[in-house]
Structures are given as C-alpha cells and as structure tokens.
C-alpha cells in the first residue's frame, strides 16, 4: 500500500517533470512554427488582401489563377535550375575535394577544410552583396578581369540577362559547398581503412577505390546533402535572388517561388495568393525529396 502510494506519487512527480520540461517548448513551437504553416494552407483557399476586411472563401481559386500566371512557371523553372545546378556542382566538387582531403594524402588538408568551410558561416546577404559586385558590369571584378584580355572593355550584364539565374549558381556553390565537403570528409573518414587495404591488395586503382569503396559507403552522406540542398534551396533561394537581383531580375529572369511569394504578399498585398505559392513550394519540395530518395536508394543498392 505504502509502496504503491509512493510509486504513485513518484510517477506523478515524474510526469509533472516531463510535462514541465516539454510543454512550454512545445507550446511555443506549436504557436510560432506549426500553426503558421497550417494557417498558410488555410489562407491559400481565400481571397484576402491583408488589411482589408473582405475574407472570401474561393476554394482552389488561387491555384486556378496560378495556371494563368506567366511568371510562376519561370519561378518554378528557376528554382529547379538552382536545385539541379547546386546538386551537380556540389556533388562533383565536394566529392572531389573530400576525396582529395582524405584519400589523396595532400599536404595541408586541415587548412583546406578550415578555409573551404568558411563561406558557410557568412550570411547569404553578405555573399550576395559581394557577388553582386563581382558581377557589376562596369566596375565589377569579373568584367574587369575579362577586359584584361579584350580590346574593348567587356561590359556584359551578368545579372541582367535572360539566363542570369545561372549567374546565381557560382555564389550559391561558393557559399554552400563547405558543408557538404565536411560532411563527406567525415563520411570517408568513418570508412574502415581495412576496406581500402583489401581493395588495394586486389589491385584496385584510386579511381576504382573511389567507385567501389568510397562512393557506396558515403552514399548516405550524399543523400543527406542532396536532400539538404533541395530543402534549403526551395526554402531559401529567396535571399540570394532578392539581394543580387532585387525584384527577380530582368523580366523575372531570376524570379524564384520564394521571392514571388514575398512580392505577392508583402508588396502587392495578395496574401492569399502568396500563401498558395507557399503551398506549392511545400508540395513540390515534398514530391522532389521523396522522388530523389527513391531514385538514390535504388542506386545505392546497385552500387553496394
């Protein structure tokens, strides 16, 4: 009896303790992170312009409007150019660097790791401002450099062209690659040395070791990086786009879904349409990550 009572009290204490530790955080999380997401989905079904009182339910009206929106396809295209460009650029470069820094026995690998990661700790705002200057047609670094080799001063407007979305790739890669390098380095270092030894004894070249040992064993890190790139790009490409090309470049050449959401909502006051774009971002990124995971899983099996 007494023991039960004690156990009951202690159970109660335990539960109280658990509640007191998780509930406040969970409440904040629910109010400031979860609720806005659901409210956003809800808003996308209305026609609402922020301040005004009119709040009309229009069902999928906003999504139908998207079908007639000429800018949105450009924005989606641009997001996926960034995603694809970053996935390819990151993976090729960071696998190369990671292997170089671990397996190829180069001098100063610690130094390179430190340096390569550095741009990752800079604000994307800083990166964008710096690179906007690199690309400045007349006083910028890139054109001044090219002009050294041309007769006429080279004044191509990198950020003003129809395809200037591609000009946003180098800064994105420059700024983000450190993370995947570090990730892959950690992955490679956790591969047991014995595997390489036996591969070596089998007469495998460095190149073969890479394909047969390194890549299959760091495939999980590769997957993580790719998913991470997709989510952070669809979620955050807004920053680099608005810093470097303000309202989405020449004729929306660099408009992405995030920036288009922002301008619709906070510039034109079309909050519900903006929310609908947000839903689109959400859906597309879920589809993309699931599809990529499927795709990469199959590859992993084939390789191992």
């Amino acid at each position: 009896m007494k023991g039960n009572d004690f156990a009951g009290k202690s159970r109660m204490k335990r539960n109280l303790f658990i509640a007191s530790f998780i509930v406040p955080t969970l409440a904040l999380y629910a109010v400031f992170a979860v609720y806005p997401m659901f409210k956003g989905i809800y808003l996308s079904l209305f026609d609402w312009s922020g301040g005004s009182e009119s709040y009309n339910f229009i069902g999928l009206g906003n999504f139908k409007e998207m079908l007639h929106d000429d800018v949105l396809p450009k924005a989606i295209r641009n997001d996926y150019i960034l995603v694809a460009g970053k996935v390819i650029g990151f993976m090729i470069l960071s696998l190369f660097f990671a292997v170089a820094l671990t397996r190829l026995n180069v001098k100063g690998s610690g130094f390179y790791r430190t340096v390569f990661f550095f741009p990752n700790v800079l604000s994307v705002v800083v990166v964008g401002v710096l690179w906007r200057y690199v690309y400045n047609p007349n006083v910028g670094f890139l054109n001044s450099f090219i002009s050294l080799f041309t007769k006429q001063p080279f004044d191509y407007a990198w950020l003003g062209g129809k395809w200037s979305i591609f000009a946003l790739l180098p800064p994105s890669i420059w700024a983000g690659i450190g993370f995947s390098v570090i990730l892959l380095v950690a992955g490679i270092m956790s591969v047991p040395e014995s595997l390489y030894e036996s591969a070596h004894l089998d007469g495998a070249t460095q190149w073969q070791q890479f394909w047969k040992v390194t890549l299959p064993l760091v495939w999980e890190q590769v997957q993580t990086s790719v998913i991470w790139i997709v989510v952070t790009t669809l979620n955050g490409s807004f920053v680099i786009v608005t810093i470097m090309t303000f309202e989405g470049g020449a004729d929306n050449a660099t408009q992405v879904m995030g920036s288009y959401l922002y301008f619709n909502a906070f510039k034109y006051g079309k909050f519900s349409y903006g929310s609908a774009i947000g839903v689109l971002i959400l859906v597309l990124s879920l589809i993309t990550t699931v599809a990529l995971q499927r795709l990469m899983k199959r590859d992993a099996i084939e390789l191992s």
Partner: protein
C-alpha cells in the same frame, strides 16, 4: 493639343521667371530663408515685410493668428522617401515644424528604401501619419485602391496654409482624382522626365541634340560610327525610366499629341495597350534596339549605376528626370554640361511631349494623429517652403511661388524653356496599379533586349489589365 491647360501655363510662367532671373542674375547667392524675398517684393507676401529674421519659427505666429493655432501633441510620424531630391529640405522643414509644436513627438521614417520598409506597416494597419510618396515601389494610385489614404476632399477644398492662402490655389498641378471627385493626395514636387545628354560633349563632336525621332536616329548613327561609347544607356533595373522618358511621350505623340490616350491607359481600357499609338511607340524601341543603340550593360544597372556610366561618357543619351543633376552632384565630371529634350519619339518635325513626374503627399487613413498631419500639410504648402525646396532639392516644387533669387539648376532652366514653349505638349502622367507597373516594367525591358515583340508586350499588358479589371469588378 488642348492639353496645355491653364495650370501648365502657370507653371511654365513660373519657370520662365526662374529662367529669366537665373539667366541674368547668374550665381545669385543663397538667400537666407525668409530674408531675401522681403527685398524684392511687394508682390509676394505681405508677411515678408516683417523684418527679416533667420528663425522661420518666429515668423510664423505673426503670419497666422496664434489663436487659430491648434495645440498639437502626441506622436507624429512622417514617412518620406529620400532619392534624387535628398533629405535636406525635409530635415529643415520638420525641425521648423517641431519648433512650432514643441509638444509634438515627431518621428521621421525616411530613406531610399523606405517604401519597401514601411509597406508591411501599411498592410498591418499601423501606418505613419503623413507620407511623401515618391521613388521605386511608391504608387499613390495603388495606395488609394488599397484604401490606405485619407479622403481629404472636403478638408482640402477649404484648407488654407499657414500664411492664410488656400492650398488648392497654390498648386501648379492639381491633385489627381484617383476616385472621381475625391482627393487623397496632394502633389508636392514637380519633376519632368526627359532624354539627357552632355552639351559640351555634343558641341565638341559636332553632334546635334535630337528634335524628333529621325534626328535622334541620325545622331545615334554618328555616335555609333564614332565608336567609344554606346548611344543610349538606360536604367534596366527600373524600366519605368525608359517608360516615362521615351515610351509615354512617344505614345502621346502618335496619338496626334492628344494626352487622352494616357487617360485611357490609366482607366485600363480594354485594348488600349494594343492601340496604334502604343504599338508605334513600342516600334521605336524595337528600332533603336535593332540598330544596336542600347547599351548592353543596361539591364543590370540601377539609376545611379546607369547615370554614373553616362556621366563617364560610356553612353551619349540616358532617359531620366531633371532631378539627375542634384542626384549625381558628387559625381559630375569637370566640364560636363547637362542638356535634355523632353521627348525623342515624336515623328519628324513634331512637337515635344513633356511628361511630368509629380510626387505627392498624403495623410494615412489610419493616421493616429491626423490633426498634426493636416497641420503639417498646411505648413509645407507655402511659398516660403517652395523656395526652400527649390534651394535645397535643386528642383521645382509644385507650389506657385516667385522663385526669383533662388539658384536654379541648369536643368530646371532648360525645363522651363521647354514647358513654356508653344512647341511643347504636356502629357498627363501614367498612374496604374502597382502589379501592372511591374508587368509593364518587365515587358519593356524584355522588349529592349529583343526577347519579346511589341505584340507580346501588348498581350502581357492586356492580360494583366484583364486581371486587374476582374478584381475591381468583383
């Protein structure tokens, strides 16, 4: 042609006076505020007969009866854009107003990006009390559509400034009626778009300033043949510059110099963007593009970028406004002589079409201190402030005032010449909702780069206008 209304004539007269006086008086010294006008004038203000004093705040109680003065207190927030006109005048006038109303807690929300920065607060319903609407991202019409500005029709009709003069009578350009019969904003600044060039450079090379489209093409060919600079650089990041300086005036010219086409554009009349005048005007952009006149760097340049390139003689012409001289004051090379023509798109032998650019002030509908905002309006729409504006911002304001003795910039003088010429037609301003402004900017830029045809330009505009109309009708 009937567009040259009485108000424009008045403004022309005013500018003519500046022209005449600046012409002979040359570098008349900066008059101390309130001081010089007293010397030259019986005509202007009786109040100025009072001994000149340096503190404007002191003159004021004498001008308006202190008894009428409402006691203002509480917070008073003023939002103003800082661009080509600078912020000297605003700082000055606000400090004067503050001295006058010591109990008022004035907050200034100002800067070149203020329109973007304050946007969310307008949406939240937490706007400043008083706003000066100018610069990228500002759009008075949009603010009226969004119901953000106070309807001041009745008040304005009877409102007198602190000198006791009716404000409406003092205005050169009358307030635009964004809704029929209603006033929501009062134009404070009067600027003009135009195509600019360096007179000294042109004289040196024997180039002639264009008088019409054909002469523009002719001199363009010469400049191109001479090499070393491109013919025409523009502000690609903000294509409303080329819209305002080239497209709109050309549209009016092709409409037989009848500004009603702009009214039809503002009304988003169906098919207006496909109308012949618009298509012909667009055709000119295509023509200069195909001749390779447009500087390739343009699409990535904002206005100070493009303007400094132009000042460095990287290009011969630039579409911008008469504020450029003040805006770029720090970066003007030795020997540079500002020159401009109001328009270049008119057919051979045609008239110039001047496209004004006014910037308005307004009271927020949800102002917390509307009394202070109105009092501030009464304070700034005076002849004294008109002179101070001209002095400090190096551009004409929208207030009729005898600007004699103030130092006008070369461009103001030149503007005066054009606006007072019988050979100039003054166009109404294009005021369309903000999302259409964006579509128009994008389309024009795409056109200058050869990515779309004029027909596609028109299609984009018609589609966007359809959407906007559907919204209004809902």
């Amino acid at each position: 042609m009937a567009r040259v209304s009485r108000t424009w004539m008045t403004w022309s007269m005013v500018l003519f006076v500046i022209f005449a006086l600046a012409g002979c008086g040359g570098g008349a010294d900066k008059p101390a505020a309130g001081g010089t006008p007293a010397k030259q004038g019986d005509a202007s203000k009786p109040a100025d007969a009072k001994p000149a004093d340096s503190k404007p705040a002191d003159t004021k109680p004498a001008d308006a009866k202190p008894a009428e003065e409402p006691k203002l207190s509480g917070d008073f927030e003023i939002q103003y854009f800082v661009g080509g006109y600078g912020d000297t005048w605003w700082k000055q006038v606000i400090s004067e107003f503050q001295k006058l109303h010591p109990d008022l807690k004035i907050k200034e929300s100002a800067g070149p990006k203020i329109n973007d920065q304050m946007k969310p607060r307008w949406i939240q319903g937490n706007p400043p009390d008083f706003v000066y609407i100018d610069g990228a991202g500002s759009n008075t019409r949009q603010m009226v559509i969004d119901d953000q500005l106070m309807d001041i029709t009745d008040w304005l009709k009877g409102a007198k400034n602190v000198d006791g003069k009716p404000i409406l009578d003092l205005l050169i350009a009358k307030p635009e009626e964004y809704q029929a019969g209603k006033y929501h904003a009062v134009p404070l600044v009067f600027g003009s778009w135009g195509t600019f060039y360096d007179k000294a450079l042109f004289a040196k090379n024997g180039w002639d300033a264009p008088k019409d489209w054909d002469s523009f093409l002719a001199v363009g060919d010469k400049i191109k043949a001479a090499g070393g600079m491109s013919v025409y650089i523009h502000t690609g990041v903000y294509p409303y510059y080329i819209n305002g300086a080239l497209l709109d005036p050309a549209t009016v010219a092709f409409n037989n110099y009848d500004g009603s086409i702009i009214k039809r554009i503002n009304a988003l009349e169906k098919g207006v963007f496909k109308s012949e005048p618009v298509m012909k005007a667009l055709g000119e952009i295509v023509q200069m593009r195909d001749k390779g006149f447009i500087d390739k760097a343009s699409p990535a340049l904002n206005h100070t970028d493009s303007q400094s390139q132009w000042l460095q003689h990287k290009a011969a012409f630039i579409p911008t406004g008469i504020w450029v001289e003040g805006e770029m004051a720090k970066d003007i090379p030795q020997g540079f002589e500002f020159g401009f023509v109001p328009s270049i798109g008119q057919p051979s032998g045609g008239k110039f079409v001047a496209n004004p650019y006014t910037s308005t002030v307004a009271v927020a509908k949800k102002a917390k201190n509307p009394a202070a905002a109105k009092a501030f309006l009464q304070y700034i729409f005076t002849e004294k402030q008109a002179k101070q504006w001209a002095e400090m911002s190096k551009a004409p304001s929208n207030i009729k005032a005898d600007l004699a003795g103030t130092k006008a910039t070369a461009l103001t003088i030149e503007a005066a010449k054009y606006y007072s010429s019988p050979n100039t037609v003054v166009a109404p301003e294009v005021t369309i909702p903000e999302d259409l402004v964006k579509v128009r900017n994008d389309a024009t830029l795409a056109l200058t780069k050869g990515e779309i045809t004029p027909e596609q330009w028109a299609d984009r505009m018609e589609t966007a206008a359809d959407k906007a109309r559907a919204k209004v009708n809902k």
